[in-house]
Amino acid sequence: MKFIVAIIKPSKLDDVREALTGLGITGMTVSEVKGFGRQGGHTEIYRGAEYEIHFVPKLKLEVAVPDNVAEQVVGAIRDHANTGKIGDGKIFVFDLAQAIRIRTGETDAEAI
């Protein structure tokens, strides 16, 4: 199994989620993160001073998948999270040693 972590733009979540659902992926986990990268941040103003804010709000998507669909999933994320602009994010793929569904105790492919 693979565990795929994608850092994406918040506005792209809905597109990506729909694409993954289309591939038969039924579960995923999302969290809010702050990204530092080439994109740079933005400037905030406070009473006559400008502050450089380095971080950019991003979403982290985590999804565990069987080996055979991993490539497809990576491809789908790449295609649907893409805007062509700096800051689109990254996809990281890990080997997943084991997966368990808490409710049933099922493991691995059946668990995800």
């Binding site: 905030e44 103003i45 406070y46 009473r47 006559g48 001073a49 400008e50 502050y51 450089e52 804010i53």
Partner: protein
């Protein structure tokens, strides 16, 4: 012109007092309770209390980082309570009581615990207890304004000691000089609702405090944008509305004088806000909300001393001047001189109060739409009085503040430890966290 003039000037707390004890016909006429005036001043009292609780508290609390939000709120409520008790015990008496031989400088203890002021005692056309309460709300907000100088690092015990001593040693005498029939009142200083008594004292004290306390860790390198601008705006709006009571109530009557006071107050707030916005927009490319409402407060502080003396055009002009000068002074103090007057108390209140006090000499003139001077005064004479008052108040405040802070620093540390500062005062001083969402 003398008579209407007199009526207007009566609006200021000072002269209504003078009249009250003068025993002349006008005063005798005044010595009957007017239920409309009373209704308005009770309401104004509630409005001015609302300025501090929760107006100013929210305004300031939204400007700090989230780990210090509760400590700022705590400063404001604690100061409000301490000031209230002290006001009753003897500070009201010092400020507005009869000081006998020393009356030029300070009142006496005759009105301690509101002695002799039963429910029938009058002050002008309103019950004395209403006057007492109205003035108390000023004594609450003034030390609370200084909170903006020292947040995110100050020791809470030091805040309590400093604020209490400050009310007794700075506020009471200055209020007496100007509103209690003291030497500046006799000199004809015009300060309708507290440009000197409230804003200059607070602003100057903030500066002294910051110089002695030191900057926040990481200032000015580290980013410290306000954690909750919505909270700041909420507080600013409450301050604005409450200021109707502050300035309008200082007429001590439900009259055209009160109406004019709220008119010029409102207009000054509006033009100062827009002025700040335009400057910021031009300089930084974006009009910010925090900047906008900072302009609002600058406009309100600036019109305060003038609000019983100038007309609508004065309101417009003072607002523009306030927005521009206070903007510049925020930059000067924070960016240029790198003094960490954290929430810009001096640049907004100190400078605003001073500016309004000076401009009163000009815009009180009927030629600039003002309501005119007292008999025998003109712009130049008035300007002399205003400047004398400002210098005297500033010098007294600096000296006494310095001494108070020295005393306090002997009794307790002025600052928390660097670790506590990093972790935030909410948890380390008060054992609470601002947001558990």
């Amino acid at each position: 012109m003398a008579l209407p003039m007199l009526r207007i000037v009566c609006g200021s707390a000072l002269l209504s007092f003078v009249l009250l004890f003068a025993g002349d016909a006008a005063a005798q006429d005044a010595a009957r309770l007017n239920s409309g005036d009373t209704a308005w001043i009770i309401t104004a009292t509630a409005l001015v209390l609302f300025m501090t609780l929760p107006g100013l508290a929210l305004f300031y609390a939204g400007l700090v980082r989230s780990r210090n939000v509760l400590s700022v709120l705590m400063h404001c409520v604690t100061i409000a309570c301490l000031s209230s008790v002290l006001w009753l015990v003897f500070v009201y008496s010092l400020a507005f009581g009869d000081g006998g031989a020393a009356n030029d400088w300070i009142g006496g203890f005759g009105k301690a615990f509101l002695a002799g002021a039963g429910t029938d005692a009058l002050s002008g056309t309103i019950p004395e207890n209403v006057f007492f309460m109205f003035q108390m709300t000023f004594a609450i907000i003034t030390p609370a304004l200084i909170v903006g100088a020292y947040p995110e690092r100050v020791n809470f015990v030091a805040v309590m000691l400093f604020s209490s001593l400050w009310l007794i040693l700075v506020y009471a005498p200055v209020a007496h000089w100007i509103w209690g029939g003291g030497w500046l009142a006799k000199m004809g200083v015009l300060d309708f609702a507290g440009g000197l008594v409230v804003h200059l004292t607070a602003g100057v004290s903030a500066l002294v405090m910051v110089v002695m306390l030191g900057a926040r860790k990481g200032f000015p390198r580290e980013i410290m944008p306000p954690h909750n601008p919505g909270m700041v705006v909420t507080g600013a709006c409450m301050l604005w509305v409450g200021w109707y009571g502050f300035n309008g109530g200082s007429a001590l009557a439900a009259s055209g004088a009160a109406g004019m006071a709220i008119t010029v107050t409102h207009i000054s707030a509006a033009t100062a806000s827009l002025t700040w916005m335009v400057i910021e927009w031009a300089k930084h490319g974006k009009p910010s909300l925090i900047g906008f409402v900072t302009g609002t407060i600058a406009g309100l502080a600036t019109i305060t001393p003038a609000s019983g003396f100038v007309g609508p055009v004065g309101g417009l002009a003072l607002g523009v001047a306030a927005g521009a000068l206070c903007y510049f002074c925020v930059w000067l103090i924070k960016q240029r001189l790198q003094i960490d007057d954290s929430l810009d108390v001096f640049a907004v209140h100190g400078v605003g109060g001073l500016l309004g006090t000076v401009l009163t000499a000009f815009f009180a003139s009927p030629r600039l739409g003002g309501l005119g001077f007292a008999d025998g005064m003109n712009t130049m004479k008035q300007l002399g009085a205003q400047l004398t008052g400002a210098v005297a108040v500033a010098v007294w405040t600096v000296v006494v503040c310095y001494i108070i802070i020295k005393i306090v620093s002997v009794m307790t540390p002025l600052r928390v430890t660097p670790d506590d500062e990093t972790e935030g005062l909410d948890i380390t001083t008060h054992g609470e966290r601002g947001y558990n969402l």
